[in-house]
């Protein structure tokens, strides 16, 4: 979720809360205000009635509500003396313009008592009140409109102002995404006066400079490690070669030395593969250019043709389209060669290898052992399906490392008795 939408999410939730609480409080206050204003009116009305009763005694006989909205009732002195003025909300049957028949409408009623000529009367004065459900309804829609307006306003402000404010950030992010350690010369920077962004830029660039230094150091270390390991290996190999050339060796001794020699050769190969793997992992190949995978496939096929003939394998290539990929040519060659060799070496006599190329994928199907391989372990380092094999178990890991480097996907499945390896070049 984008920052813009996130802030909108939190704002709309909190504004919803604030508006809800506010409208409840507002409603209560308004209702109280209305009631106290009606109560004052009722008080005034009461006084007028009592005053009028002094003049016109007929008023005292009015025992039901009519147009003048009050009633009088004789009561005992005791009752009257205990009575206090009380205001209550109640309902009286009334008929207004939009009513068919009289129906209960809310009223505010003042109940009080007074004394006239030694006789006590109970006086009830009523006044019509706002209908609360109407009020709530009205208020509710007002609040909903207010809420919608607020959110719309915030969205507009967000889109215009925030987008403008965050622009340096997004620019910086874009530069950072395109940054490649060791190959991009310029450190990412953005044109801004905002302090946070300047701080971010500085922090990122400091980090990048550290990484760059570490990267250089690592590159140097790999170079040195390769030197340190390869030189002793060279010494051993060459000494053994000279030893094996000397004519005064006994057969049994020579065979033992030959065995050691073969072990050393495996060590050499292992070291070379590991170096290659670490170089790929350290992204030290980035001479990217447009490479036609079709050509790489054809070339590798030519290289391995005699071996295929020797193993009586039938290699077919189906090219439905030209597959062009932006990749380091050396790595493209290693990728294809390793996959093809894998298909040849783990094959059976009179087997088949089919290579098909489409617009964005390379697919190799080959015959081999009749069970599916363990696809999750297949690309892991030093995994060998056959312990007798003298390979390093690094071939497919190298393929995987190259695929990972460029964001290609590589998958294995077993289909109709054939092993299928597929590389999809559409980078993510």
């Amino acid at each position: 979720m984008k920052l813009l939408n996130q802030s909108l999410k939190y704002l709309s939730i909190s504004i919803l809360g604030i508006v809800t609480v506010w409208s409840v409080v507002f409603y209560m206050n308004m209702l109280n205000e209305i009631k106290s204003s009606i109560d004052e009116g009722l008080e005034n009305y009461k006084r007028l009635i009592i005053q009028n009763a002094q003049v016109d005694a007929t008023i005292l006989t009015k025992t039901y509500f009519d147009e003048s909205f009050f009633t009088l009732r004789k009561i005992a002195a005791e009752e009257a003396l205990n009575m206090r003025d009380s205001y209550i909300d109640t309902e009286i049957y009334m008929q207004d313009a939009d009513d068919q028949a009289p129906e209960p409408e809310p009223v505010r009623m003042l109940t009080t008592a007074f004394e006239y000529n030694g006789q006590y009367y109970e006086l009830k004065v009523a006044n019509s009140m706002v209908e609360e459900d109407d009020l709530i309804n009205e208020l509710f829609w007002d609040v909903v409109w207010l809420y919608i307006l607020l959110i719309a306003g915030i969205m507009v402000v967000n889109n215009i102002v925030l987008k403008k404010l965050w622009k340096p950030f997004y620019d910086f992010l874009k530069e950072l995404k395109n940054y490649r350690l060791g190959s991009t010369q310029k450190l990412p920077e953005t044109n801004t006066q905002t302090r946070e962004f300047l701080d971010l830029q500085q922090a990122v660039n400091t980090l990048l400079q550290h990484s760059l230094a570490a990267f250089e150091q690592q590159k140097e270390f790999i170079g040195n490690a390769s030197h340190e390991l390869q030189t002793p290996l060279a010494m051993v190999t060459n000494k053994l070669e000279l030893l094996l050339e000397s004519s005064d060796l006994k057969q049994a001794e020579a065979e033992k030395i030959a065995a050691i020699f073969q072990i050393i050769e495996r060590l050499v190969l292992l070291n070379q593969s590991l170096l290659l793997l670490s170089k790929i992992d350290n992204k030290q190949f980035f001479d990217n250019q447009q490479v036609s995978i079709n050509e790489v496939v054809q070339q590798n096929r030519l290289e391995l043709e005699e071996l295929a003939t020797f193993k009586a394998l039938n290699i077919t290539v189906t090219e439905s389209e030209v597959l062009k990929v932006t990749i380091d040519p050396t790595l493209a060659d290693i990728l294809v060669a390793n996959l093809l060799k894998n298909a040849l070496f783990h094959n059976i006599k009179n087997g088949r290898v089919n290579i098909s190329l489409s617009k964005d994928s390379l697919r190799l199907c080959n015959t081999g052992v009749s069970q599916p391989l363990e696809s999750e372990k297949l690309f892991s380092r030093f995994h060998k399906t056959d312990s007798r094999s003298s390979g390093t178990g690094l071939g497919l890991s190298i393929v995987k490392a190259i695929a990972d480097l460029y964001g290609f996907t590589i998958a294995y499945h077993f289909e109709k008795g054939e092993h299928v390896f597929e590389v999809k070049f559409s980078s993510l």
Binding site: G223, S226, H227, E228, L229, Q230, T231, L233, A234, M235, V236, T237, N238, K239, E241, L242, L244, E245, Q251, A254, E255, I257, A258, F261, Q262, E265, R266, V268, L269, Q272, L275, E303, E306, L307, F310, K311, K341, L344, F345, S389, S390, G391, T392, G395
Partner: protein, 225 residues
Amino acid sequence: MKILVIEDEIDLQQSIKESLVKEDYLVETASDYHSAIEKVFVYQYDCILLDIMLPHGSGLDILDELKQAGKTENIIIISARNSLDDKLKGLELGADDYLTKPFHLAELNARVKAVLRRKNLAGENGIAFKNTRLDISERLFFVNGQNISLNRKEFDILYYFLLNKKRLVTKTGLAEHVWGDNSDQADNLDFVYYQIKNLRKKLQDAQAEIEIESVYGIGYKLMEK
């Protein structure tokens, strides 16, 4: 032919020397930057094998100085660093070839001979051994003046053997040289065996006075009968 080996690892230096002496070259050695510079500027060599990492200096600096002094020796860099940068830099500075450690002695032989041939045998393009002759530019093979047809790989193999007469050629070294491949898959070595078998048969049928001997199951030697 005089060759200078500049290499700081004495064991390796001695192995290289021993191998080159077997090929009847006059070999001198240097183990650090200063002695190398001294020898390079005092004597004349036909070929210099140069390690990049040296005590007191870099092999690339030696190359640079040679270039500035206008000396055009044949130089093969032998280095453990197979970093492309170094390789390009070395070749740019005038090195003739670049060999990554560890290497097979047979491969070193082949490279040295190739470099020397480019310089000294400009017109001549053949290697003769007993009653056989290999024409390199035409890619033809003759036994007693008779053309024997060889396929592409057989020719490459025989060429490699002729560059390493009477020397041990390991199966892996052969596979690496001829197929440019460094995987030691058993299949690959079986294939080497199969090619050698065909080649032996052709040599025998043509009554060549040379033969390919097996060496303890790890390689071969080209010998006269």
